[in-house]
Amino acid sequence: MANRWTNTLKDNDVTPESAYLNRRQLMAGAAAGVGLAGIGGQAQAKESLEPNSWEDITQYNNFYEFGTGKTDPAANAHMLTTQPWTVRIDGMVDKPGDFAFEDIMKAMTIEERIYRLRCVEAWSMVVPWNGFELADMLNLAGVQSGAKYVAFETLLRPEEMPGTRYRVIDWPYVEGLRLDEAMHPLTIMATGIYGKDIPNQNGAPLRLVVPWKYGFKSIKSVVRVTLTDKEPPTSWNKTLPNEYKFYSNVNPNVDHPRWSQATERKIGGGLFSQRIPTLMFNGYEEEVAPLYEGMDLVKHF
């Protein structure tokens, strides 16, 4: 069952980048006018969902398997071969096995989701993803009733991933979600950007996108998805346990030891780009706050 969630911004349903750019100019103009009139709130919310350019999205990446510099993934990810590609779905599922990427795609309905992406390093982007809901993919394998968490694993192929020659973290990269987070309609597996196949540096051929969590939760180039009843290990928690816990929800009120999370800077604004306030759950509070009702988000950061 696709299309469980739609953007509040209806005029985003266009795909070609030129159309986005036209709309961007329109919106920037409108926002400026509204700002002068002194009622910026509504317009600002819209403004912040303007997608970043293809160049921003594909040339400023954290994908340490291809190097730790922001431009390393764009420079090195061409080495990655994504065909053939299979995703092993195992653990507490009815039909565990290796699912060919093509077979998954045939079974899924691709839709467009324009999401904010907030990196833990206090920068952000807006990305027009194409993909399908993770819930639909998990249902291909049939989630068993005892499952409580989903564990994810990125490909580890050192001959195609020069960054893995250094043990920056303990490879392969792993991540995890609670089952209700994984089944939430906002949680998708992205296979495209701007209607094109997702570039390697962005996590080809399919990557997780959880828009209310810091970017590192949205694990790239996924080869394995395991349903389990125990909280799975996550790479950054293993590397720096004091700095990263399991949830990693975007939260302007809980600072990371290295970066204040109160503000962020949207990529692509040039040398004089201004910081903007970070939103609770990255602006998806209405949709996801119920998942964490009664939880101490300062303790479970």
């Binding site: 590397t239 800077r265 040398l271 910081r275």
Partner: protein, 203 residues
Amino acid sequence: MSLVDRINGFARKVPTWPLYIIYLLPVPWLLYLAQTGGLGREPIKALEHELGEIALQLLILGLTITPLRRYLGINLIKFRRMLGLLAFTYVTLHLAVWVVLDMNLLWSQMWADVWKRPYITIGMAGFLALVPLAITSNNASVRKLGAAGWRNLHKLTYAAVLMGGIHYIWLVKGIQIEPLIYMAVIVILLALRLPKRKAPQRA
């Protein structure tokens, strides 16, 4: 004439002022690149990184002067003040980029960062350690402090470089190789100026 003599002779002849200009050329060049997309999609961070890295390199170059003389007899001491002042200039620009372009003068957030983020705390300490050194990098101060006093004060350089190196190690995520290489070089250069231990006398 030996190579060392030739280097020393050449160093005696080269004036320092053109070197100031040459070493400051990266500043307009980086600003030009930042404006024209040459620093990538996020020019603010890129500029901050470049300036920080140049500052650290200059501080490290400053540390090579003493061992070069001590172990190889190469005398480049006349360039040491220049290296120090240039390093201070780059650290100051690095800090200015942080304050103005990166943090947009959000003073309360910056204040919190200085105390709460160890890598900022130690970077700031490194900067503060360099301030008295920059102020006293002139002949009048050397006279006023006396050679010994001046030399003692300028031992703060060692602390500043170490803090710069630690700052770099702490600010990267995970274990990355580049800051560790810088740190190794710093430690070696500092070890080279430890007083020579007298060889134990054989009975």
